[in-house]
Each structure stands twice: as C-alpha cells, then as structure tokens.
C-alpha cells in the first residue's frame, strides 16, 4: 500500500489508547513520513471521509454506532481494532451484567429515555476486523509492530501465549506465591507483564489466549487459597463480553 491515508475513530471509550499513540513520539515522526493521517481528533482539526486504514478505538454500545462502524468498514481497506474496548469489549461490558433499563436510569437519571443503550460489544461482533492491538491501554511497541506489519504487508507478531511467559522473562516471582489473584495464566501476553511486575494481579485486559487452560487456572487458584469467584469478578472488569467461557 503506497502512502496510505489513515483515519482514527472513537467509539465508546476514554480515547486513552489514541493518547498512547501520541506518546510514541520519535517513532511517530518516522511513521508519518510513510502515511498520511487524515482524521485524528485527539491531534488535529481536519477531517476526511476518504481513507484506506481505519484505526478504531472503543466498543459498540448504541444502535447508532452499529451503522457508523459499518460505514467505516465499507470505506476502509483495512480496519484495526485499537485497545481493549474495541478488541474484546473492555470495561464498557461491565454494564452487560445489568438490565439495560436500569443502567440507563443510573447513568442518565431523568434523561434516561433520551439516550438509547445496548449491551456493549467489541467491534468484531459487528464488522470484520483485520488487525487487533490489544490492551488497556495499548502497548506502544505493539502499535508500531502492527502498523509496520500493515505497511510491509506482513503478519504482525501478536503473542498467543499467557502473560506468565513475560513474567518469566522478567524473572518476576509468581503472584500466586503471594496470595494474589492473577489472570496471567489465561491472558494473552504482549503487555510485558506490566501489572504483575508491579505486583498487581493481571486483570485480563488483553483478553484470553486462544486455548486457555481454564481448569488448571481454577486449580491454581484453589491451591493458593483463592476462589474462582474472585477470579471471575476480576476478569469481569474487562472480559464481560466473554463471561460464558468461565461457566
């Protein structure tokens, strides 16, 4: 693809992943010599409806967003899901545990009827996605890895092994030894095990690996005096869209 036109889009999200993109600084300068950024509301006022690559942050939480994302798919040659909200549904899926009516009332009060809402979902459940950049927030190096792969027309190297691998690479002591609930054994690596490195249990923001060993993870939890219930509630922070995998 010669000098593609790139547009960033925001759906239901905090736009934090787009801010991460802006912090890539020196590599970003090199990157913009290879692409034209035509829409990026975190960084510029100009907009365009003519683009080759759509980088989409956020999940789908309203009917109107379904139409909007379909239009983006029809226009773009390549669609990239950016960040946990877009790749797995993310934190927005917390609301899926409740009745939509109740959620509307809690959030909008008297104005509840003015705003429609539907259970939150990743963009993949509405349109075909070509590339995924996981995490909350995304990892800078992975953003570069994926954009480079698109430009070189190669397959990006996205890990399909658990976070434990990166913990081992960092020579971290396993958090289970410290009695901390960790979703690392079933969560896709690529974050460089940043949370466990700072002794916070993994919450699974990058989603499950393709074939997680859930039963072994359950055993690990119980061997260390932790419960599956604790683990599920930790996982629900980001993984509300795939709760059924635990049942």
């Amino acid at each position: 693809m010669s000098r593609p036109r790139v547009a960033f889009f925001s759906f239901s999200s905090c736009e934090g992943c787009q801010l991460v993109v802006l912090t890539i600084e020196e590599q970003l300068l090199e990157l913009v010599t290879l692409i034209d950024i035509v829409s990026f509301r975190e960084a510029m006022s100009e907009k365009s409806n003519d683009y080759d690559i759509a980088i989409v942050e956020g999940s789908i939480t309203r009917d109107s967003e379904i139409e909007r994302i379909k239009t983006i798919r029809d226009t773009a040659k390549v669609v990239v899901a950016l960040g946990a909200c877009a790749t797995i549904g993310g934190i927005n899926c917390l609301k899926n545990q409740f009745e939509m009516k109740k959620v509307q009332n809690i959030v909008y009060g008297k104005m509840a009827d003015t705003f429609d809402t539907i259970p939150a979902r990743p963009i993949e459940s509405v349109i075909k996605v070509d590339y995924w950049i996981h995490g909350c927030p995304i990892d800078r190096d992975e953003f570069i890895e994926v954009t480079k792969a698109i430009l070189l027309e190669k397959k990006p190297r996205i890990p399909d092994y658990p976070v434990c691998v990166e913990c081992q690479m960092k020579e971290n002591v396993c958090l289970f030894e410290k009695g901390i609930v960790c979703m690392g054994p079933i969560t896709r690596a690529g974050c460089k095990a940043i949370c466990p490195t700072y002794t916070d249990g993994c919450v699974g923001c990058r989603g499950l690996i393709d074939d997680p060993n859930l039963s072994s993870h359950k055993n690990l939890l119980s061997e260390h005096g932790l419960t599956v219930k604790e683990a599920i509630s930790q996982y629900m922070l980001f993984g509300g869209n795939s709760k059924e995998k635990f049942e």
Partner: protein, 342 residues
C-alpha cells in the same frame, strides 16, 4: 598440588580477577531470588542457597541477541555483524549441574554449524563451580548420572570442608592457568584428608528404563494425563540450563533492520504453528511429550547425552506444579510393568 580457598580470601580472589580484566559473575541476592549475575565485589556473593533461580545458559546464550544488522539501498544490501560479544569472564559459584550443561550443549551448538556466539563465549568464560553441600526435594542429579560434586564442565571445582574453607581442584588446563595467575589468593593444603561437605541427593528413578520405554510409547495416555495442568507458560524451558530452542526474527523497517535471536520454547502453541494454520503439535500433551522425548530420547540418539542435568529448576518454577522427576518416575514404573499400555 591441591590448594585451599578461604572465605576471607574471596575478596582478593574477585579483585585479582578484575585486575586481570575478567568480568566477575556470582550468585547474588535479588529481592527474593538468588541470581547468577555480574558482581563488583565479593560482599555481593551469596552462597546459602541450593541453586540459583536462573541457569548458567544465559551467559553463553542470552535471552535475546542481535545476530546481524542490515541496510538495503536500491540493489545493494549491507550487512554488519556484531562484535565484542564474547567478554572474558569468570563465573564463580555455579553448581555442578549447571557446569555439566555446557559440554552437553556444546554438542548441539557445534553440530551442523558452529554457533560463533556460543563457541566464542565458551572460550572466553572460565567456570569455577562450588559443589553442593545441600539439596532440596526437586534435585535429581544422581538420577541422570551426575553428582553434587561432579566435575564435568567446570574448570575449577571447590568443595566446602568447613564454614570458611574450600578444597580447590583444577579440572581443565584453563582452570589451572586461572589458578596459576592468582598468586597469593589460594593457600597450600595442610596435611590430612579433609572432610568434604557434599549433599546426598536421593536417586528417584532408574534412568536406564526411560529410553527403552520412550522408544515404544510415542502414543500413550500418560502424555495427556500428566500435562492436563500445564498452562503453556514455557517457564520450564526458560529456566532449564539445557533447553536451547530459539527463534530468529527481523526487527526492521522498509530499508534497515536487526536480525535477532530470541529464546523460544516447545511448550508454546505458536512454536510449531505452520504458516498454513496447521499445527502438528496442537495439544499441550503433544508439546509435553516433545519436551520429554527431546531430552531423554532424541538428544541421546543424536548426541549420546541426556539433555537434562537434574537441576530441578523446571519443577521449582512451574506455576501448575508439574514435576519432571515425577514424570520420569512414572515412566520408569510403567517400564517395569510391561503390557500396561493404554
């Protein structure tokens, strides 16, 4: 003549080595871990442990290293090879199992091609091992034909004879030259036979039963059963002193890049994933079988060595508590009960 090294002389040992231009590596406390790592002075050395958390292999075969850089311009490719990767060093206080892993790995790194990174580092690094005066329930060196005071792979072997005294044995010419170059650090032995403090490591299985059983049981329920717990984290392969699989990737832009060699592991699903999407080892049971087969059958057939030194690190580090010596005990037991196949 046999020499002695007193604990009080560790300081002059290390500073003399540094004076001779050696980088010094020794077991060192790092929060809750004991790591083989570069030290500046003898006060950093820690010797109360059974075994270091990391193995010796990363000093010869690092987790990640650049094998070349390239730059492309029109029809021209410029290649730049790295230099200065083999630094003269002494690894002090490694264990006999770790030291033995080196001659075992020499075979594969000098096989169809000679891996210059490994070979040059092997030449540059001298190994001063300390025999084990204690062990834990994970140790099984005696089951794979080694011993807590084995000499193979070491250049010098120290054996504790009291809290502050070690017997010094030179094993290789390299070791002898090292000792000769360190006047005044080592003391002459007093007369009498010293009482060597060497751990007693329990023998857990009969190794001679293992390979014949593996020859016959590529298909067996035990592979799946034993690996049900495995989460595929590959920790066992990273801490193993004899696991040596790596992956080569280009970290590049359109016109330039580095070709990088990274540790890889057979316990990962992606390890054998084909471009087509087909995976010849699609289950964890098959991956676990590969690990055992490679160590106790394929390597033996190809290089006449077991690819395991019984350090037990894989079992200590496994988050799911899989224990390789338990697996080998099961195999040895199965081997004693013929006809008990699936």
């Amino acid at each position: 003549m046999e020499k002695r090294l007193y604990k009080k002389d560790f300081g002059s040992f290390i500073t003399s080595l540094q004076g001779l231009g050696y980088k010094t590596v020794a077991p060192k406390k790092d929060n809750n871990l004991i790591m083989l790592d570069e030290i500046q002075g003898a006060d950093e050395i820690s010797l109360d442990h059974v075994i270091t958390n990391n193995s010796i292999k990363e000093f010869f075969f690092p987790k990640t290293e650049k094998v070349l850089s390239y730059r492309m311009e029109k029809n021209k490719v410029e290649i730049e090879e790295p230099e200065g990767f083999a630094v003269k060093a002494v690894i002090f206080g490694s264990r006999p199992c770790d030291a033995f892993s080196l001659p075992v790995m020499d075979k594969v790194f000098n096989w169809d091609c000679s891996d210059k990174f490994w070979v040059q580092r092997r030449e540059a690094i001298t190994i001063v091992t300390i025999a084990c005066d204690k062990c834990d329930s994970y140790c099984f060196c005696t089951s794979v034909g080694l011993a807590p005071d084995a000499k193979q792979g070491s250049d010098v072997l120290l054996t504790k004879i009291s809290d502050d005294e070690y017997v010094v044995e030179t094993v290789t010419e390299k070791g002898e030259n090292l000792i000769k170059g360190l006047e005044g650090v080592f003391s002459d032995s007093p007369s009498g036979v010293p009482d060597r403090q060497v751990a007693t490591v329990e023998k857990k299985f009969a190794i001679d039963k293992v390979k014949p059983w593996l020859d016959e049981n590529f298909v067996h329920k035990v592979w799946t059963e034993f690996s049900l717990k495995c989460i595929g984290c590959g920790a066992c392969t990273f801490v193993c002193p004899t696991c040596h699989c790596f992956d080569i990737v280009d970290e590049c832009t359109m016109t330039k890049g580095d070709r990088v060699k990274n540790w890889d592991g057979c316990q990962f699903k992606m390890f054998t994933m084909h471009t087509s999407g087909h995976n010849p080892r699609s289950t964890q049971g098959e991956r676990w079988r590969q690990r055992i087969m490679h160590k106790f059958k394929y390597y033996v057939e190809k290089f006449d060595s077991i690819l395991c030194v019984g350090c037990g690190r894989c079992s200590r580090v496994c988050p799911a508590d899989m224990n390789i010596s338990e697996m080998l005990e099961i195999i040895a037991t199965e081997a004693s009960q013929p006809g008990n196949k699936d």
